[in-house]
Subunit: 154 residues, 2 copies
DNA sequence: ATTAATGCAAAGGATTTGCAATACC
DNA sequence: GGTATTGCAAATCCTTTGCATTAAT
């Protein structure tokens, strides 16, 4: 099972400390991203933001996302394109986690693994590669769907 | 260093054995993918295909790619969006390899890792997740660029 | 006051689709 | 001959851009 607790940094603080101009829109978008219970794409983020302030513009959402990406404050995911070509976003966490996407039910399982951490170290050590971002996504069938599909597993 | 030899399955055989109708276009596209020296996106694939047969259509390229993906004969990569939002494709290899994308020079390093294989096993074992596809992409600075950028590394 | 961020509307790029014509088995 | 695949062109989806306006420091 994946540990449920993944601590998130306070994005707002990070931004002001980096002297990034803090606008109402950014505050709003950041709060939404930080407190999101599921992975949001740009459209979903826009929709949520507009509930609080209908004037938030689509372009602002994209610009804010690219700002946060550039500053390495959020990670971008594809979730194996389980639902079209959109990108999903999440606040960066202290230790990377990987995503298991079930093609059958669409569930996304987050998973932290010491082996993954080791793999990253090896990549640096063996290649001299300085890692900035990693994205490990896995597609397949989750345990529940696998059981449902083949009830006669030994 | 990444091992250079990565054996590729014969896509054409795989297809006919699966009773997929073999058209001239598919033969052409498959051959190109199989013998590609670099990672191709749909547009590049179309361009190469048209050198041999100018009538190959863009839609056919996309349809063939999605067929091959569906049959798990190719892998789809983003290469960390190092060059826009397109997707890249490569014939599936026996053991997965991961991609290191250098943000500075754009080089893509392919890398096979036993640790990665172990990680996949763990995911299956600990989650009961049946893995169909994996995609591990790493973005950062390659050794050469790192050296160039900071010549005074201890 | 200066400079950066926003909204708007239009453009852009990648991918998909409906349908008639064509090629495979 | 029957069915899957293709070409074509238009449509769709996601994202970006130029520019005048507005807001932050």
């Amino acid at each position: 099972m994946a540990p449920a607790v993944i601590e998130r940094r306070a994005l707002r603080q990070e931004l002001t400390s980096k002297r990034v101009r803090m606008t109402a829109q950014r505050r709003l978008l950041i709060d939404i991203i930080q407190n999101a219970k599921r992975h949001l794409d740009a459209a979903a983020l826009l929709k949520l933001a507009r509930k609080h302030d209908p004037r938030v513009n689509r372009a602002t959402v994209y610009r804010t996302l690219s700002l946060l990406k550039r500053l390495s404050l959020i990670d971008e995911l594809d979730l194996m394109h389980i639902e079209g070509e959109k990108h999903y976003y999440e606040a960066k966490t202290q230790s990377d986690h990987l995503h298991l996407a079930c093609f059958r039910c669409g569930e996304i399982i987050e998973y932290i693994s010491p082996t993954f951490e080791r793999l990253k170290q090896e990549i640096g050590a063996e290649n001299g590669f300085r890692i900035a971002v990693t994205r490990l996504e896995v597609g397949g069938t989750c345990a529940r769907c696998a059981r449902a599909a083949a009830p006669t597993v030994p």
